[in-house]
């Protein structure tokens, strides 16, 4: 048995009963329903090929295929549901999991992912992405922020100031995502807020992806002199945990949502704990 949906006052999130993956998001306030599949994939890192000796490394993202491999085709899931929160826990593999979460009153879907330690025993460097696939007709366009401020339009396989001959179908379309990325058609917009800077792209119409973790075995010969192979405290690779906040709204209303929430993420409340019962204090 796997959970079919979670819902609050504003949103309903539906899951595929067979795969357990996110399948559809509905904005109940605006009666918007969008098929959205979300899953984790990995690009196999290039170590150099006939076209170029360039390996993927700290400076360079260079997958050896344009199509990433799924971390899992189906996930094991379970549901936690109470008055304050509804959560679907998705287990993709021993090193990749996610919680899809809706708090009461919250107008966005929270995806809390945990990725790592990335296995490299097979001798392959791996670059892990979270990909959202929708039916939106996006005409090769997607949007990323410029350091949390201006939003810039990005066009696939296009540069505004010169005629581009694209040689890297994926990497050549990756852009910095400091706080948000979105795709839209004439009516609806799907926005993802990140909790840290990541690389992101839309390599196909209606699709949007963010790179959440990478572990590589070769130096890219750009100066750092070592592969991007951070060992972590336990010397088996880093585990990263982060959040993506997903908004589905009309194009007109989306900025009002993601701008305010991004402020709240960037300048999040600071939690300070205390056992209590301390003496009163007055500055001298």
């Amino acid at each position: 048995w796997s959970p079919r949906e979670i819902q609050n006052e504003h949103l309903r999130v539906l899951f595929d009963p067979v795969t357990g993956l996110l399948m559809k998001i509905q904005n109940l306030d605006k009666s918007i329903s969008l098929p959205v599949s979300q899953s984790f994939f990995w690009y196999s890192a290039s170590i150099g090929d006939d076209d170029s000796a360039q390996a993927s490394g700290a400076y360079i993202f260079r997958p050896n295929h344009s199509e990433p491999l799924p971390v899992a085709r189906g996930v094991r899931t379970y549901l936690v549901k109470n008055k304050l929160v509804q959560e679907v826990y998705q287990n993709f593999s021993s090193w990749c999991s996610q919680v899809v979460r809706l708090y009461a009153g919250q107008a966005y879907v929270e995806l809390e992912w945990t990725v790592g330690p990335i296995p490299v025993d097979d001798g392959l460097g791996k670059e892990i992405i979270s990909r959202f696939e929708t039916s939106l007709q996006t005409d090769g366009r997607f949007y990323t922020d410029s350091n949390g401020r201006e939003i810039l339009e990005r066009r696939r396989d296009y540069r505004a100031t010169w005629n581009l001959s694209q040689t890297e179908a994926v990497a050549g379309n990756y852009y910095p995502v400091n706080s948000r990325i979105y795709i839209k058609n004439k009516k609806f917009q799907l926005t993802v807020l990140t909790d840290r800077s990541q690389g992101g792209s839309s390599v196909a119409d209606g699709s949007m992806e963010l790179m959440v973790h990478r572990r590589l075995l070769y130096d890219d010969n750009r100066g750092v002199g070592e592969p991007l192979l951070e060992p972590g405290v336990y010397h088996d690779g880093l585990v990263v945990r982060g959040r993506h906040l997903v908004f589905l709204d009309t194009v007109e209303s989306s900025a009002d949502r993601h701008r305010l929430q991004a402020q709240q993420e960037f300048m999040a409340p600071q939690l300070v704990l205390a056992p209590g019962g301390g003496p009163s204090f007055h500055r001298g």
Binding site: L84, Q264, L273, P275
Partner: protein, 183 residues
């Protein structure tokens, strides 16, 4: 004495393009992390002093850096504790607080002494797998909180004993047994 200069210096070093993009050697990355951690340590004293000064209470303020993996020695072990939310934004914000705990039931009161609804959920296996011996909280306490613009709110949390649970359950059964009158 608190000192923000240590963190300020570490942040200045971390403006280097290698720190921003992650193109530094591993031992340099370790040094960036060490500098930032030392900076945050010194800033914690500064924030504690400021909170003591503003609130008029000299508490043993504790900062749990591993809350994202449900680790916090204080909340795991204490029967009663306080949570202060400082809001750096110029508008009121609402926030869902999640704290690692070991108990099954808690009472949460807001700054006005009003009870706040809360829930306790089990710590997931995903989290247990990544915290690797750090902390042994079995549950997470969740409650909605809010803080005023550029200000703070303090919530008090108390673990409920079994007898409190029993009396609450008995009260709920009595309420359900009685017909409700809507006015």
């Amino acid at each position: 004495e608190g000192d923000s200069a240590v963190l300020r210096r570490a942040m200045a070093v971390a403006q280097h393009h290698d720190a921003v993009s992650g193109t530094e050697k591993q031992h340099v990355a370790n040094d960036y992390a060490k500098r930032l951690a030392a900076g945050w340590d010194a800033c914690q004293v500064l924030v504690s002093n400021a909170l003591a000064s503003i609130s008029g209470n000299k508490e043993n303020f504790i900062y749990c850096n591993y809350l994202n993996i449900s680790v916090c020695p204080l909340t795991e072990s204490a029967g009663t504790f306080m949570v202060t939310l400082y809001n750096p934004l110029g508008r009121r914000v609402s926030w869902n607080v999640r704290l690692p705990v070991k108990g099954a039931s808690y009472s949460v009161t807001d700054p006005n002494g009003q009870m706040v609804p809360n829930e306790v959920v089990p710590v997931s296996n995903f989290t247990r797998a990544v915290r690797r011996g750090r902390g042994d909280a079995t549950h997470e306490l969740i409650f909605p909180a809010s803080a005023p613009p550029l200000g703070y709110s303090t919530y008090t949390i108390s673990k409920m004993a079994n007898r409190d649970l029993r009396s609450r359950l008995a009260k709920r059964i009595r309420e359900q047994a009685q017909p409700r009158v809507d006015t």
